[in-house]
C-alpha cells in the first residue's frame, strides 16, 4: 500500500554534464518510473544557475507526460518553480534531487599514518560522496613546508582530520593541526566563511586541536574514526560531512539555494524539506540496499562525464567501499583518460584503423563540448573503447583502496599461516563476486545492451560465474535519494524499471595454449534445450537465455584453469539469463592478454564482437 500522500514524485540528478529528471508514479497498485527528461546542466556562465537546467529537464518531463497520457492539463511547473503538493493533474507530491554538478564535494583529509588513520579518513570522505583531493599524513615523506603549501593551494570545501587511536600519543596529530593552522586554508567557494574542519581523531588531543584551530577555522569535533586499530567508526564523521555539505558547500554553488528550497515532500504526514544528496552517496545507498536484500557480493560502477565511481560490497561482513576517480570520465575528463592510459591502450579495443590526429581531435572536441553524442558508428565504437579504459583504471584504483584494515594484529590458525593474506590485502575477489552492475551515460545509454556487457567484461574481467546488470536509463541516484522518504517506492522502481539483468558471464581463470580446450560447458536452457560445447582458449560464445530464467550448467574448466570451484574442478550451477544472455569467455584471466600487433588483434576483436553482436555487421567486415 502506497503512502497516500505519495502518488507522483519528481526526482532529478544534476550531473556535471546533464540534468536528468524522472517521474515516478503510483499506478495500478505499484510504483513505476513512467517518464524521463533531460537537459544540459546550467552551472556555466552566462546562466550560472543550476535551477535553469532543472526546470528545462522537468519541462521536458511535463511535455512527455502530457503526450504519454494524452492529457494537456498535466502541469509540473508554475512561475519557473516545481509545484508541490499535487492537486489532480497539477503538481507532484514530492521533489527530490541529487547533485554532482559544481564539482561535487571536494575534500582534503589528514591522518597520522597514511595507510591506517589516513585511509580510514579517506574512506569516510569517499563514503560520504566526496572527491578526496589529497591525503596529508605525518609519514607521507613530504617535508612539512611542502605539506603546508599543498594545503594552502588546494582550497578544498572542507578538511577531515583523523589521527591516533583513542588514548594514544597526541604529538603527531597536534603537529598536523599546526600545519593546517599555518596554511590558513581558504574554502573553494566564497571568501566570506571559514573553512570547515572536522576533527575525528584521538579524543585525548581534542583540547590541543581546539587551541590550535578554533580561531582559524570552523572546527567541528566528532567521534574518533579509528578508536582502536581493529575498529573503524566512520558513521559520525560521515554524517558531519553530509551536514556541512548542505550548510556550506551547496549554499555557495550557483543556484543551489533556490534548488534547496524546492526539494520537499511528505515526511510523517507533513510537507518537509528533503536534503539534496551528493550523487555518489545516493548510488552507494542503492548498492548497499541491493547487498542487504539479496545477500550477495556486489560491484557497481557509475561512469559519468567528469568522474567514475566504483562501489563494492565484499566479504561476509558486508564491507562497503566506494572510490571516486575524479578525473576519469566520458566528457569533461575524457582527455584525461587518454593522458592517463595512452593512445595504444585505447586503440587496442578498436577494430579498425584510425588516424591518430583525428582521434586526438575527436577526444578534445568531446572534452570542450561535453554534451555532444556520437552520431556516427565509428565514434560510438571509439567512445566505448575509451570507456573501457576509464572503467579499467577506476577499477584498478578501487582494488588498491578496498583493503582490509592495515596495522591490525590477527590471531591465526596454523593452517592460515601458510596463506598469503595479510592486513592491507584487497578484499575485491572477482572469483566470488556475484553481481557486476554498470550505470552512467555510456553504460545505460549504449544502443545495444550487448555493448554494455562487453564494456563491463573487458574492463572488469569478471572471473568464474558473474551475473551482469545495468541501470536501465540511469536512475540509481534518483532512487538512492528517494529511498530516504520512501524505501518502498525506491525498491519497487529499482526492481521493475531500473535494474536490467543482462545475463551471466562465465570465465575460467588462468592461461593455457590457444589450441587447448579451456571450457567444456553443458547447459540446459529453461525450455529444456541442451547445449554442449568444448570451447578452445581465446574464444567468446553467447547463448541466448531470457531474462528472469535460469539455465542449469555443468562447467568443466580446462587443465590448469579454475571456473570457481578450484583448479581443474567441475562446477555444477545455475546461470541467470538476461536481455543479452550467457557469455562464455575463454580469453583468459590473470593474465588477460590481447595481441599487441594490430594484424593479430583486429581479427580477434571482430570475431568476438560478431559473436556477441556488438555492432552492425558493416563495421566488423
Amino acid at each position: 500500500m502506497a503512502n497516500e500522500q505519495l502518488t507522483r514524485i519528481i526526482a532529478t540528478d544534476c550531473g556535471s554534464t546533464t540534468t536528468k529528471a524522472i517521474l515516478i508514479e503510483y499506478v495500478d497498485g505499484e510504483y513505476r518510473q513512467t517518464v524521463r527528461g533531460e537537459a544540459p546542466t546550467t552551472v556555466e556562465a552566462p546562466l550560472n544557475d543550476v535551477t535553469k537546467g532543472v526546470i528545462n529537464a522537468v519541462q521536458e518531463l511535463e511535455e512527455l507526460a502530457r503526450m504519454k497520457y494524452n492529457n494537456p492539463a498535466i502541469r509540473f511547473i508554475e512561475n519557473e518553480e516545481i509545484i508541490i503538493p499535487r492537486n489532480g493533474d497539477v503538481g507532484s507530491d514530492a521533489y527530490v534531487s541529487t547533485s554532482s554538478a559544481g564539482g561535487g564535494l571536494q575534500m582534503m583529509v589528514t591522518g597520522v599514518v597514511a595507510k591506517m588513520t589516513g585511509e580510514s579518513a579517506e574512506r569516510a570522505a569517499l563514503g560520504a560522496g566526496a572527491i578526496v583531493m589529497d591525503l596529508i599524513a605525518s609519514n607521507d615523506q613530504r617535508p612539512n613546508h611542502t605539506k603546508i603549501e599543498r594545503i594552502r593551494q588546494l582550497r578544498p570545501d572542507m578538511i577531515l582530520m583523523a589521527g591516533g587511536v583513542d588514548g594514544g600519543t597526541t604529538k603527531h596529530v597536534a603537529e598536523l593541526a599546526e600545519l593546517v593552522a599555518a596554511a590558513d586554508p581558504k574554502p573553494r567557494l566564497g571568501q566570506s566563511y571559514r573553512l570547515p574542519v572536522i576533527y575525528a581523531g584521538n579524543i585525548k588531543a581534542v583540547d590541543i586541536i581546539e587551541e590550535t584551530l578554533k580561531d582559524k577555522t570552523d572546527l567541528i569535533i566528532t567521534e574518533n574514526i579509528r578508536p582502536t586499530l581493529e575498529r573503524e567508526n566512520l558513521g559520525p564523521a560521515r554524517d558531519k560531512i553530509h551536514d556541512l555539505f548542505m550548510e556550506h558547500v551547496m549554499q555557495q554553488a550557483p543556484g543551489y539555494n533556490k534548488l534547496m528550497s524546492w526539494t520537499r515532500g511528505p515526511i510523517d504526514g507533513k510537507l518537509a524539506h528533503i536534503d539534496i544528496m551528493p550523487t555518489p552517496a545516493a548510488v552507494g545507498n542503492i548498492m548497499k540496499k541491493l547487498n542487504e536484500e539479496e545477500n550477495i557480493e556486489v560491484l557497481g560502477v557509475d561512469i559519468g562525464g567528469a568522474t567514475t565511481d566504483v562501489f563494492s560490497v565484499f566479504t561476509e561482513d558486508r564491507v562497503f567501499n566506494r572510490t571516486v576517480s575524479a578525473n576519469l570520465g566520458m566528457s569533461y575528463s575524457i582527455s584525461n583518460v587518454l593522458a592517463s592510459t595512452g593512445l595504444p591502450n585505447i586503440l587496442r579495443w578498436v577494430p579498425f584503423d584510425i588516424d591518430e590526429n583525428d582521434l586526438r581531435n575527436m577526444i578534445k572536441n568531446k572534452m570542450i563540448r561535453p554534451t555532444t553524442i556520437p552520431a556516427k558508428l565509428e565514434e560510438l565504437v571509439l567512445e566505448q573503447a575509451i570507456a573501457k579504459e576509464a572503467l579499467r583504471l577506476a577499477f584498478e584504483q578501487h582494488k588498491e583502496f578496498a583493503v582490509t584494515l592495515k596495522g591490525t594484529q590477527k590471531s591465526r590458525e596454523i593452517s592460515e599461516a601458510f596463506e598469503q593474506s595479510t592486513s592491507g590485502a584487497t578484499i575485491v575477489n572477482m572469483l566470488t563476486l556475484d553481481l557486476l552492475v554498470g550505470s552512467g551515460g555510456v553504460a545505460s545509454h549504449a544502443p545495444r545492451r550487448s555493448q554494455t556487457v562487453m564494456m563491463l567484461i573487458d574492463a572488469f574481467l569478471p572471473e568464474g560465474v558473474t551475473r551482469l546488470g545495468v541501470d536501465s536509463i540511469f536512475m540509481m541516484p534518483h532512487l538512492g535519494v528517494l529511498a530516504e522518504i520512501s524505501p518502498q517506492a525506491a525498491i519497487e522502481v529499482f526492481n521493475k524499471d531500473c535494474m536490467i539483468y543482462m545475463g551471466t558471464c562465465v570465465a575460467p581463470v588462468g592461461k593455457i595454449k590457444p589450441d587447448k580446450i579451456a571450457l567444456t560447458a553443458e547447459i540446459e536452457l529453461p525450455g529444456g534445450e541442451k547445449w554442449k560445447q568444448e570451447i578452445p582458449f581465446g574464444e567468446v560464445r553467447l547463448i541466448p537465455c531470457p531474462v528472469d530464467t535460469k539455465a542449469k550448467a555443468l562447467l568443466k574448466p580446462g587443465r590448469g584453469l579454475d571456473v570457481g570451484a578450484g583448479k581443474n574442478q567441475e562446477l555444477e550451477t545455475e546461470l541467470y539469463g538476461g536481455v543479452v544472455g550467457i557469455v562464455l569467455d575463454t580469453r583468459g584471466r590473470r593474465p588477460f592478454v590481447l595481441p599487441v600487433e594490430a594484424g593479430a588483434r583486429v581479427p580477434l576483436l571482430k570475431k568476438w564482437m560478431r559473436e556477441l553482436d556488438i555492432y552492425p555487421a558493416e563495421i566488423l567486415k
Binding site: V43, A45, E60, E149, D184, I368, P370, T371, R448
Partner: protein
C-alpha cells in the same frame, strides 16, 4: 515541442561586459566606484603570506616540547633575520650551549608547547590585480576587489591557453577559412593579437612567438600541435597558467574548423582596436571559457545590463554542427520533430532537421548543434 534549450557561446558586437577583479586573499582596493580605469591599472593589492618554514626546536635543542619556552630568545610575532639565534640552552656552567638559528628572514608565527615546533613565516610578497579591461569601476567589494564594466564587443572562445593580455587586433586574412602561414607573420606584428581562419599550424605559432606576437585567435588547432607546443598532453582542461610566450584562443574547436562568419566579421571590423583577451579555460564545474573583449569608448552602464538569455533552439535559428558528420558546418533549423529518431550509431535521440549552407538537408541530434549569433 517547438524549441529546446541549447548551449552556445556568446559572440556579440555590443554588450555590457562586467569583469570581477578579485584578490586571492583580502587586501586593499586601489580604485573607487565611478573611476575610469585602463586595462593595465592596478585596482587592488595584497600581501601574500610568505612560505611557512617549520623548525622543530625541541628536537634541535634536545628538550621536551613543554620545555622549549624556557629557552626561547624570541616571541611570537617577532621579526627575525636569517642566522639570528631563536633559542638556546643554558649549557653546563655557561658552556656546551645548543643554539638554534633561523634559516630565513621573516617572522615568528607560532611556537607550539605540544610539539616543540616553531613556524617561521618568510616575508610577504605583494600581489597586484589589474583592471584587465578599459572601463568604469561600478562596484567596490571592500578588501577584495572591484567590478569593472564597459560596453564591448565580446567573443567567447571554446578553448584557450595563456594568461591575460592586452593588444591590438591584427586581422589580415581575407576569409574565415584562410590559414595563417608562417611567412605572413613578421616583426610588424610584435605585441599584436593576430587572427587565423580554420586552423593555426604549429609553425605559425612558433613564428608568432619568435616575433613577439602577444596573442592568436584561431578557428581550430590540431591537438598534436598543442601537445608539441606545451610539451605535454592536456588531461584535465584547466588552462590559463601556461607559459609558452603567447596567449591562444580557439573559437571553434580541434581540427580544421572554419571560423564562424560572425566572429570573423567582428574581428575584421575591430581590426586595429585595443583588445583584452585571456586563454583561461576550465572545463569542469563552474566552467570558464576564454574571452576576447574589445571595449568601446568608455561608457557608463546607464543603458542597463544585458540580461543573460537562454539560447533556445527553434525553427529558423542558425546553428553550427559540433560533431561528426558535418562537423563545423553552418545551417538553419527547418524542423524540430518531436519523436526521437535512431541515428547511424543506433542511438535513439531527439533530433532536428537543418538545411546546411551547401543546400543539403540533414537530420542531426539536438545535442550536436550549437546556436550561433547571426
Amino acid at each position: 515541442m517547438g524549441k529546446s534549450y541549447s548551449q552556445g557561446l556568446a559572440v556579440t558586437d555590443s554588450m555590457i561586459v562586467r569583469q570581477q577583479r578579485i584578490l586571492p586573499l583580502k587586501g586593499e582596493v586601489k580604485a573607487s566606484e565611478g573611476d575610469t580605469v585602463k586595462a593595465e591599472d592596478v585596482v587592488a593589492v595584497t600581501m601574500l603570506p610568505g612560505k611557512v618554514v617549520p623548525l622543530n626546536l625541541a628536537n634541535k635543542l634536545g628538550v621536551t616540547p613543554d620545555m622549549v619556552g624556557n629557552f626561547l630568545m624570541v616571541k611570537e610575532g617577532d621579526m627575525i633575520t636569517k642566522g639570528q639565534v631563536l633559542a638556546q640552552t643554558k649549557g653546563f656552567m655557561g658552556m656546551f650551549k645548543t643554539a638554534v638559528k633561523s634559516p630565513t628572514d621573516g617572522e615568528i608565527e607560532s611556537v607550539s608547547r605540544h610539539t616543540g615546533q616553531a613556524l617561521l613565516r618568510e616575508p610577504r610578497n605583494p600581489i597586484e590585480v589589474r583592471a584587465f579591461i578599459d572601463g568604469i569601476v561600478v562596484e567596490v567589494i571592500p578588501e577584495e576587489g572591484v567590478v569593472v564594466e564597459n560596453r564591448s564587443a565580446y567573443i567567447q572562445g571554446i578553448f584557450g591557453i595563456g594568461n591575460e593580455i592586452t593588444g591590438e587586433i591584427a586581422c589580415f586574412i581575407s576569409s574565415p577559412e584562410e590559414i595563417l602561414t608562417p611567412d605572413r607573420i613578421d616583426e610588424s606584428h610584435k605585441d599584436k593579437i593576430i587572427v587565423s581562419g580554420e586552423l593555426i599550424p604549429y609553425e605559425s605559432v612558433k613564428k608568432a612567438i619568435e616575433v613577439g606576437v602577444k596573442g592568436i585567435i584561431t578557428g581550430g588547432i590540431n591537438d598534436q600541435d598543442l601537445k608539441k607546443l606545451l610539451g605535454y598532453d592536456i588531461g584535465v582542461a584547466i588552462t590559463g597558467h601556461e607559459n609558452v610566450g603567447i596567449t591562444l584562443v580557439v573559437t571553434e574547436g580541434f581540427g580544421n574548423i572554419r571560423m564562424a562568419q560572425h566572429t570573423f566579421d567582428l574581428l575584421n571590423k575591430y581590426n586595429g582596436h585595443r583588445t583584452s583577451m585571456h586563454g583561461k579555460t576550465q572545463i569542469r564545474a563552474g566552467v570558464i571559457r576564454p574571452e576576447i573583449i574589445i571595449p568601446k569608448a568608455v561608457t557608463t552602464a546607464s543603458d542597463g545590463h544585458d540580461e543573460a538569455e537562454l539560447p533556445f533552439l527553434e525553427v529558423g535559428k542558425t546553428i553550427r554542427v559540433i560533431r561528426q558528420p558535418n562537423f563545423g558546418k553552418i545551417g538553419k533549423v527547418v524542423a524540430m520533430p518531436e519523436e526521437p529518431k535512431v541515428v547511424e550509431s543506433e542511438t535513439k535521440v531527439r533530433i532536428l532537421e537543418a538545411e546546411l549552407e551547401d543546400g543539403n538537408c540533414v537530420l542531426i541530434p539536438r545535442a550536436n548543434v550549437e546556436i550561433i549569433a547571426e
